[in-house]
Structure formats: structure tokens, C-alpha cells
Symmetry: C2
Subunit: 561 residues, 2 copies
Amino acid sequence: MAPASQLTNGAGVTAGNSITSRMASVYSEVQNSRLDHPLALPSVFRSPFKIVDGPASSAAGNPDEIAKLFPSLFGQPSAMLVAGESYESGSALKIGVVLSGGQAPGGHNVISGIFDYLQERCKGSTMYGFRGGPAGIMKGKYVVLTPDFIYPYRNQGGFDMICSGRDKIETPEQFKQAEDIAVKLELDGLVVIGGDDSNTNACLLAEYFRSKNLKTRVIGCPKTIDGDLKCKEVPTSFGFDTACKIYAEQIGNVMVDARSTGKYYHFVRLMGRAASHITLECALQTHPNITLIGEEVASKKLTLKNVTDYIADVICKRAGLGYNYGVIFIPEGLIDFIPEVQQLIAELNEILASGTVDESGMWKQRLVPESLELFEILPLAIQDQLMLERDPHGNVQVAKIETEKMLIQMVESELEKRKKYAYHFKGQSHFFGYEGRCGLPSNFDSCYCYALGYGAGALLQGGKSGLISSVGNLGARVEEWSVGGTPLTSLMDVERRHGKFKPVIKKAMVELDGAPFKKFASMREEWALQNRYISPGPIQFVGAEADKANHTLLLELGVVA
Amino acid sequence: MAPASQLTNGAGVTAGNSITSRMASVYSEVQNSRLDHPLALPSVFRSPFKIVDGPASSAAGNPDEIAKLFPSLFGQPSAMLVAGESYESGSALKIGVVLSGGQAPGGHNVISGIFDYLQERCKGSTMYGFRGGPAGIMKGKYVVLTPDFIYPYRNQGGFDMICSGRDKIETPEQFKQAEDIAVKLELDGLVVIGGDDSNTNACLLAEYFRSKNLKTRVIGCPKTIDGDLKCKEVPTSFGFDTACKIYAEQIGNVMVDARSTGKYYHFVRLMGRAASHITLECALQTHPNITLIGEEVASKKLTLKNVTDYIADVICKRAGLGYNYGVIFIPEGLIDFIPEVQQLIAELNEILASGTVDESGMWKQRLVPESLELFEILPLAIQDQLMLERDPHGNVQVAKIETEKMLIQMVESELEKRKKYAYHFKGQSHFFGYEGRCGLPSNFDSCYCYALGYGAGALLQGGKSGLISSVGNLGARVEEWSVGGTPLTSLMDVERRHGKFKPVIKKAMVELDGAPFKKFASMREEWALQNRYISPGPIQFVGAEADKANHTLLLELGVVA
């Protein structure tokens, strides 16, 4: 067998003639059963349809600056697919697709959705998969996607069909490289599957292509397990549903374990750096005793001491009820939300960037008193992690800091001072992260992604560019889902970086007055002291409830209360 | 709602009149769907049956010593249930049940199996659940089990119906306490659900009760996710199947992640301290690049350096093929299998027990040169873990040592010396443990446990004592499973402890000439360099393959090759 890496060497390998790493694999029964799982489609795709434009759009903030940055795209209307005679059989198209950033369950279904749309509606089309993320565009590394190539990835997790990457198309040279490949392949369109940054990049590329009068249109798709790329028209990002369900399965098991042994406090750190959506959703699914939500910690300007005290308070109260066990959720990015820790990290970044750190600890004198005090109360292992790990930009890698272990130690110290409570405390740490990014997509994510892909295909066929594929009405049956596109510029604001305005799609943070947080807040006191644990169990692909979407989405849509 | 802890306070609470923690819970859809899941039973239970004795038994080793330790029980025959007119409707019995040791999926089904057997065959029986493990027997803490009490736990994970504990009945006073409660409750029988130690204890109790001419018989049930309590008549311990499937789901996801990102080596430590069955089974299910099996490491007398070199060799070879990612399995108890590490730990235990350890490190002079050398090459964090954590017996808590992180660091150092290879190495550590102990039992474990419970009921009704419930022919349909009991003394050998012979059921280690290991060994070179990853996906409870048992069992039974 040829190693899969061969595929990455030459440009323009026709995948049908080669062997993919998946094809060389034996599949499990469950993987196999998913391959031919029939996917429902929004009914608009089941008959002739046309694209109807909505009213002109603006921006999420600073419309004047966005208008300057996107002179050809700014203000364009959103698009909606409605039944009607318009595209009965389109001409053949040449379409590229790229996966950008971290994995999220369902990415393969977006690709197969685009592919199937083209096969069905634009016969004779060619589809190119750029390999390894945006770098594949810039370096001209791609495969021609064929039915045989795509088949083994249908309803499967991971991004390995064409792999992903974190590069961005940024410099004039890089935009030129993208132009060159678009011209060489005569691309009618490009679909960028990614998070907030990647979709911003997609919009810049759309603007660039239009400014150059290229025929290549660009459509984005909302991907991230973190759930922080969403707005009214794009109710959720794909992958969030599956990842949360995978974490909730593990958490549910740990909860049963906690109740059975009666002697552990499980501190569970959950992936999702910037926003706490995953943590909140897992809480709604499983009912832990304590859930820290980064956005609330920031809004209340809590200190690490406040957080520690809160946990210790609940532990003491529970001890009074006879419970010396529990489950505590910590969002991965927690310390990013604590102002005093942000301050400390900023100072450490400067100190480390500007010179060596002396063994004797004299360097600590450069910390402001509050930061020094905080640094000194941190467990040694965390001090080490704060000092050692820096990313290429000189920033501490917050995701690598074992916040769950830090909190266990800090809570232990705090409890030491509260001997009068007859508590018994034993902390057990967990981090649930990588397991959730590449799982088999849930039925919801499988269908949602497939519809996003179909929609992207339709938008490209309709000549649209600079839109993000938008599938709505997600609380209803798949057949009733709406399909359209939202102007990426309408999601944008600007940030000033290095003296220049940069367009950004603002991350959607947990809203403290939103339905999911309010639901959680109304329940958490009961969850803290009584044990309302729910164990969702492993994701089931068959059965009455297999298609149900996550709580966050259903609460935000108002489908459940 | 009354807190569940109330139940633990008074002895003899009739559960039907109270509220359990489960009853106060909301169940997930999957939990609910499991409650009424119909369980097949071995067909022997579907008609009148009788118990047939086999030939006289001996012991696993030192039969003379075992005979002295178990004068009333030694040599008794095994028992087999066969169709025939014997027990049509038995008289009412009073039966106790206790869960002992760590959780394993399916424990609740053993209890419901006993309960349902009694309801069906011995109408009017009473069943007592001793709470919190053997301590519940000694302290007389129990609940009367009723249909309503048991119902919410059917096919559910965890041990929280009556909880478990790690106490043992050891001293003459403790045996007397057990006698007192047996007499007080007029117990006809007691079922001990536990691992090797607990079943040894069960047999001692059976012997004691018989020597006292009590009517109370004792039957054991084989429980442990570690899979190391098994023999010809007891082909597997319950919980192993589910736990491995839960770990394999997570591992499969991590494998897809590894392949998608192409830049991480995932070091996965797997629960299972004494034997490497879990690691081996997960390897058979998922095909990792490297699998360390403790028994092989011990048999080959490998050093930590050997293990590190082996991993580094594979990483370099894979780099040559263009793969800078992979998945590596490490059994939790690995370092227990490395002779030089055992030696070091033994020396550290003595040094720590005998006095203080000076800051300056002078204490290290007390290590023999080889141990000192080994200690010095260990990563600092591991040195700390070896020095700090001691269990109540003064032993290092091997399970708490993050072997996966240790190996990442040691492999990193080794690779540093091999710069000529164009490798790229980034280690990512995982520990899969608690998530697997309390999951919803697989269909196999659900049925196996239910049959074990039914069988235990039948053995007690048949007047048997000192047997372990034995369900065989597990490769066939449930209806064709055999049911019987194996003399616990026949599983025993003696160990000399504190100058006395102690009976022990020898842990079943991974056999290097057994079918599962041989299958793995025949495949591992292919798995190492090519990527044969399988992603089993989440456990499905419905579907053609939902009832399939694990590879280890089927290979050992010769059902698959």
C-alpha cells in the first residue's frame, strides 16, 4: 500500500486513481453503519428553487470602516433559497474547498454536501479539495474529489479527507498565490470551512477576487466546536453539538462514579478557549454541582480567590448534607477571564520577552505588588507553567495550563483554613478536549453540515460571494430548515492592530442574559447542593431521540424553555 | 427531597418507603431507554432445571495448604445447571448482597438478576443490600430491596444502588460481626460481587459460616474492569467489556484527530493497574502504532531506557514515511512491570519510611548506584511524584504517577540525540480511567451480569456455598450460555505474608502465548508503521452488532481467530 503521505507531495493528484489513508483502513461496525446513513435535506432542495435577496446589510460595528475595507462587498443583501423556477439544471462549475483551523465533527459532510449538490444540479462539475488548509491554496496542493474518494468520509469524524491547517492568506504575495491557483484551475467558486478568523479571511479573499474581476466567488461555512461563531442568521457552528455530547457522555460517567464512590470531587476542564459555550452546554446536559462560566467571572470581575472561595463554600455546604463528592466544571479559558490573572500574564510576557529570569527570583520585583501577591499564592506547578510555555508570539499558552489542578490545590489550601467543617476533600482532575473534536458527527451535525454544504453549492451556483452559508429554523424537522447566505461583512467589526483597522468577526460569547445562561443560573443552586446528575450516555445514532439538537441551540431558538 | 445520605444512617431502611438519589434524578433519554431494555436469559432458566455436580476440585496451587485453610469447602465439585425437574417452586429465602471494591459497569444488573430470580423462583423471598461494601455487613447497614428500589438502576452504570467499599472482613471480631448480622437477618445466603481479593474474602466467609454451622451460604461474582479475574470456567469478569469499549471510543476519536492534524503523538495511559488486559483489548479494537504490554515488558526484563528507545525507534521510522503523528498506549501499571523501577520504588519506600529526606539530596546516597542512576534520568515531575505520594501502607501510589508524561519527556530527550532524523515530535498526554468504570453497561455486560445474578440465585437456592457464579459458552447467543458455579478454592493458591500462608486468587495476567496477545503481536509491526486505526465510535445499544462481545473474550474462546 502506498503511504497516504504520497498524496501530499504532488499537486493535482486525482484522488480516484490513488489510495487514501481511510481506504486502507478497516472500519468499525459503527463507522460502517454511518457511511450509508441517509441524510434528510431541507425541502427547498427537493424541487426547483430560486435565490431571493433580502434588504441591504450593514456591519456589526463601525460600518464606515468595514465599507472602506470591503468596497465591493459591503452592504450586499442576504440571500434566501425559496421554491421557484430558477435553476433547473445549471452549467458545470469548478469549485474548490478548504478546511481551515481546528477539527470539528461534520466537516466531511460539508464537503460531501457541496459535492452532491454539484452532482445533482450542475452536472459535469469539478471539485478540488485544497490540502492542509489555506496553505494548500497558496502552494497549489489539491486533490480532485471523486465519488469514490469522498465515500469513505461520509458521516465520519475528523478532517483527514483533505486535512486542515492554521495558515492564513495575509500578505499581498499570498493573495496573489491564491489568485494564481484560482485562475489556473478556472475556479468558479471556493468554499472556506472555518471559524471566525477563517471566515474573515474568506471575506477578504472574496473582496480581493472581485476587485481583480475574477469569476471566483467565495462562500464561508461556520465551523468550530467552541460554538462562538454564531448570530441570528447562523444559529450555531457545526461540531459544537457532537463535541458537547461526547464530553457529556464522559462527564455523566464521571458523575455516576462520583456518586458511587462518594469520595471524589472531580474537577473537569473542558475545551473551548475563548468562550464558555461548551462548559455551559455540558452543564445543561448533565447538571454538575459547580460550573464556572468565564463570561460571568469576567463580568463580576472575580478574583482567583473569589472563585476558590465559591468552590470551597459549596464543598462545605455539601459536607453538611453528607456529600463529600461532586463534579465541578472549569472552562479551558477560565484564567483568561480573570482580570488579575490577565494582568499577571501580561506582565510575565513582558518580563520573559525582555530578558532572562534569574534563579534567585529578583525578577519578581518587576511585577506590580498585586501581581506578585497573586503569583506567590499559585501552586508551584502552575508558576512553572506560566513561566515556561510560550507560543511563537511570546504569549503564554493558556490552554496548556492545568487550571483544574491549580484549583484543586487552591481549594485544598482554602479548606485547610476551614477545619471546623467536617468535610472530606479529594480532588480528581480531568481534561476533556481532543476526544471531542474528531468524533463521529451526531445526526444533527451530520444533517446540518450536509445542508450547509448543499447551501454553499447553491449560493455559488447563484453567483453569490462573501456570504456565509446559513441554515436556519433548526428547531424544526430537517425538511423545514431554511437555507440561505448571510453577508460576512454584516458580522464584522474592526479592531485596531499595529495602527491599522483590521476586520474581525466578533466571537459570540456566552450572553449572561441569554436563555441558556439564564436557564443554568435558575438551576445551579439546586444542582450545587442536591444531586441532579444526568448521564446522557453514548451518542446513539438510531432511535427516537437520536436527532435531537443540543440545549443551547434549542433554548436560543426558543424551542424549549 | 430528603438527601440520599439519610439512607446510610439508619440500619434496615425499607427502601420502598424512602427516596433514593436515583429516584430524585431526571434521566437522559438513553438512560430511560435502557431501563426497560429486555434482557435475554440462558434458556436453562426458562424451564425447570436441576444442579448437577462435577468432579471433585483441587486448587490452583499448593492444594495441601488450601485444604488446611478451607477444611469444609476444599475439594467440593463445581456445579452446573441443566434442564430437569428439581426446583419448581422453592421456598422463600433471605438473601444479602454486597458490592466490593471499584466500580464496574453491570453491578446493578447482577443485583437485579438475583432479585428477579428470587421473585420468579422463590416467591416471598427477602433481599437485603448491604451498603457501602463489606463495611455494611460489619456495621449492619443495609436496605431491603424492593422492585421500586431496584427499577431505576436496571441496565444503569455505577454502584450507587447500594454503593461499594474497600474494607475487608479480616479479624476474628469482623467475622463475628458478619455472623451476627447473618443470624439477625436469618440470611440463607450472601452474594459477594467483587474482584480477586473480594472473592477470596467471600470464600473465607463461606468457610467461616459453614464451620459455625450457619445456614448462610456465600456465592461470589466476578467483577473488575481490569479483566484479571478469569479462568476456564469464568471466561471474563464483568465490566471489562464496557470499560474497554468506552476507552476505545475515546481512543478512536483521538486517532482520527491525530491523522487529521498530523502533528501529535498521543500518549494514552489506560486504567488497569495489575494486568494489561484493558490496554491489549483497546489495541485490538483500535490498532494504535505502539502498545506497551506490562507482562511483555516484565518477561523481557526491559528497562525504562529500552522502552524509551523502542518508542523513539518507531517515531523515527514513521518520520521517514512522512508520519509525524501517532497513538501510543501505556498500561497504568507499566512501571510496576519494569524490574529496575520496582527496585527503585522499593528503595524509596524504605528511605521514606525510615526517616526524613534532606533538602540537599544527601538521602540519595542510600540508593544503590543503579537506582540512583535511574532516579536521576527521570523527569523532575516524576521524581516528585515518586517522593510525595504514599498510600496508607507507605507504598507509592503507582496509579497516580503520570507515566504518559514521563515517557513523553524521556522520548523527547532521546529524540534530541537523534537529530539526523527529520522527525517532528509533539507529545500529547491522556489518561482514560474514571470515565470507563461507571458507564452504561454494554448489551453484553448487561446480559452477562443479569445471568451471573440469576445463576447466583440458583446456586443459593440449591444450597451451594463457596462457589463463584460461572456463566460460560459466551461466544454463543445468550440463550445458549451455560450457567453454574466454580469452587472458589479451585482458583486459589497461597502466598506467604508475615510468616503465614494466605489464600489468594491469582490475578489472571496477559498470557504472552494466549490468543489475544498473539493476535496483537502478529499485527503490531504493521500497525506501527502504517496507519490501521479503527474508530469504534460510541457504544450502540441497538443494531446488528450491539450485542457483540470484546475481542479478548472471543479470541480466548476461539470464536474468532
